[in-house]
Each structure stands twice: as structure tokens, then as C-alpha cells.
Subunit: 214 residues, 2 copies
């Protein structure tokens, strides 16, 4: 708490506040206070509020990309790699509960956007790789081929992301207390993998693709 450089403390505090309250309702003074430094100091390390925000996003996104790509490149069957992808996604979200929220906020705000590049990076790497894995499984005959692999990728990622994003609704539905127990999160991770793989492998036959690029 004491020996951490101020710059890091500022980034950590900003990460927490931006994801909890969003960009515009977080004030420079709040961040300074949470980081235990004077708010004027933020301008010593960062040009302005927006640059600070971008620095926070970059740290987080690179982490997610790295972790998910690792698992997808493993030398395993498409099914196992998809399981690995979902595990990596959940692990990253558990370790960094701010990430999905901050990321979703950024997408919601993207019209007045700050960080479209990060989103593009994520979509072009991690998301794309999942997509390719599904397509490979289809080519091998492991997965049913009448699904658009890109749609299937959205479904796979979406259900997990939603679990973490829609916590208030999820908590009510699961009737958990103020917090969702870690065990429940792990159960859902397993469920999500089962659900996606069931959908992907259900009724596999050698029929030709029915979907075409929209």
C-alpha cells in the first residue's frame, strides 16, 4: 500500500472507479482521493482524463487477448479449445471483475467513443480466433455445419459476458444473496461450455452448410 508507485495507484483507482461509475460520472478528484494522492498529480502522469481512461483500457484489453489466445492456440481438438477459451474468459473476468463492465461501457459509449481501437483489436484477435476454431471443427465434421461460425462465436462469448454483466438480474434469478458465490460462477462456466458444445455438436451429420454470409 505504501511502496506502490503513485502512477500505479492512480491507474488502479481509475480502473475501479471508471468501471463502477463510468467515464463521465467519475471525477478526477474522486480518482485522486481513492488513489490517496492529490488530484492535481494526475496531470503530472497523464495528459488529461481521457488519456488516463485509455491507459486503463489498454492494460485490461491486452490481458484478455493474451489469455484467451493462449488457450485457443493449444494443440487440442476444437471442442477442448473452446472449453479452454470459455475457461480463460471466466478466469480473466473473475480475476478482473472490472474488465467486462468497463469494456461494455466502452461499447455502449462508442458513438462518442474513446477507445474504438481496443475493441477492434479484441474483435480482430480473440473473437476472430474463436470463430476460426469453430469453423475448423465444422470442417473436421465434429461440429454441425448448418451454423454460421461467427454467430456461434457471438452466442458463446455472449452468454458468459452476460452472466458477468447482468449481475443484478442474475442474482435475483439465482436467488443468491448480495454476492454471487464463487462456486456458482464456476458452475456457470462449466454450464456455458456444455451449452455451447451441445449446440455445436447436436445432430452432426454430413449435410452441407445452410447458412450464407449475411
Amino acid at each position: 500500500m505504501a511502496d506502490v508507485p503513485s502512477r500505479e495507484q492512480i491507474l488502479d483507482a481509475a480502473e475501479r472507479l471508471f468501471s463502477a461509475r463510468g467515464f463521465s460520472s467519475t471525477t478526477i478528484k474522486q480518482i485522486g482521493h481513492a488513489a490517496g494522492v492529490n488530484s492535481a498529480l494526475l496531470y503530472y502522469y497523464f495528459e488529461d482524463k481521457e488519456r488516463l481512461y485509455r491507459a486503463v483500457l489498454e492494460r485490461l484489453v491486452s490481458q484478455l487477448v493474451r489469455r484467451t489466445l493462449e488457450r485457443l492456440k493449444a494443440n487440442a481438438s476444437p471442442s477442448d479449445r473452446i472449453r479452454g477459451f470459455i475457461e480463460a474468459q471466466v478466469e480473466t473476468f473473475v480475476a478482473n471483475p472490472e474488465l467486462p463492465r468497463l469494456f461494455m461501457r466502452e461499447m455502449l459509449d462508442h458513438h462518442a467513443a474513446h477507445a474504438v481501437e481496443q475493441i477492434q483489436h479484441l474483435a480482430a484477435t480473440s473473437f476472430k480466433a474463436l470463430c476460426d476454431t469453430i469453423a475448423e471443427g465444422q470442417k473436421q465434421g465434429t461440429f454441425r455445419s448448418d451454423l454460421d461460425p461467427r454467430f456461434a462465436a457471438i452466442s458463446t462469448v455472449g452468454q458468459v459476458a452476460y452472466f458477468f454483466l447482468a449481475r443484478p438480474a442474475v442474482r435475483i434469478l439465482l436467488a443468491t444473496g448480495r454476492d454471487i458465490p464463487h462456486q456458482t460462477t464456476l458452475s456457470f462456466a462449466r454450464h456455458a461450455a456444455d451449452f455451447s458444445l451441445a449446440a455445436l455438436t447436436c445432430g452432426v451429420t454430413a449435410e452441407r452448410p445452410k447458412w450464407r454470409a449475411p
Copy 2:
């Protein structure tokens, strides 16, 4: 454009702006301008900015609840009702692109929350009803019984919600232009129903449930 009462115009403008920019970065003056009235008039119709926000949320949530419940109560098989639910969700989101965004923002902000009641209402009615439909399908033997119906409901709702929420990422992945064509949205709706039903019906046997309440 001319004969619409000011109150409605204000609500419409507020709905658009709040969902596009969020609560705190939308200003009273922006809303007044977009509604074509003086910003001071907002205080004639609404006590303050937050009450206006709540009024917007209430309108939207009641709409979604009504539409989805209609379909789930129809006198059809669980599979058909789930298809109907997804269709209703997509139709509502298409007709009201602001809804999912505003709703997600509200969930992200729920720590400093304005409208927890609406979220609870939605979770306790629409979401719960989907859950019950899945459980019914399991009891009938149509759906595999080794899935937690609540988890399956989250997966079902989540993939559709994510498609609408993560538009910047989806656009890049699908390589569409600035907008996602309506046809693509319809295709995804069909996909989502196929995906969920495949996952729910895959390998149906008379085995006993493997999941237990978390």
C-alpha cells in the same frame, strides 16, 4: 412532429439521449434541445433529472415484460414458446434499440442505482417465466435434464442481449458496414433460437438431473 404533447417529446428525446450517452453525460439542455423545447420546461413536467430518467426506464421495461410474457403464455410446446420468447426479445430490441443499452447501463450503474426495482421486476417476471418454461420442457422429457434451467435461461437471453449490446464488436466480426443490416439481425434471431434449442434438446435421454442448486 408538431401535435405531439411536449411531455412525450421530452420522454422520447430523453430515452434516445440517455441510452446513447448514459445518464450523467446527458444534460438537461441537450434533452430540451432534442425535444425542441426550452430546458427549463423539463422541470415543469418532472421533478428533477433522476425522476425523468426513471420515467423513461419504466416505460421501456413494462413494454419488454408485456411482450415477452405474452409469448411465453401461449398455448404451445416449450420449444415453440422459447422460439417465441426469443422472437419477442429481438422484435422489442429492434423496435427499441435504446432498450437493451439503457437497461445494461442501469445494471452497470446499479451500485449507485436509480432503478433497481425495474430490474427486479424484469428478472422476477419475464426472466423467471423463461426459466419455468425450460423446467417444464425438462419435466416433459423434451429437453435434456442435466442443465440447470436458470443457467440455460441466462445463456438464452444472454446471447441475444449481447448481440445488440456489443454492436461495435459484432460489426467488426461480421465485417458489416457502419450499420448491421436488418436481414442480419433476423438471421441472428433464427440462429439464437436454433442454438439454444439445439443445446437444450441435444442427447435427450431419461437420465436423472446432474445439476443441483448452487
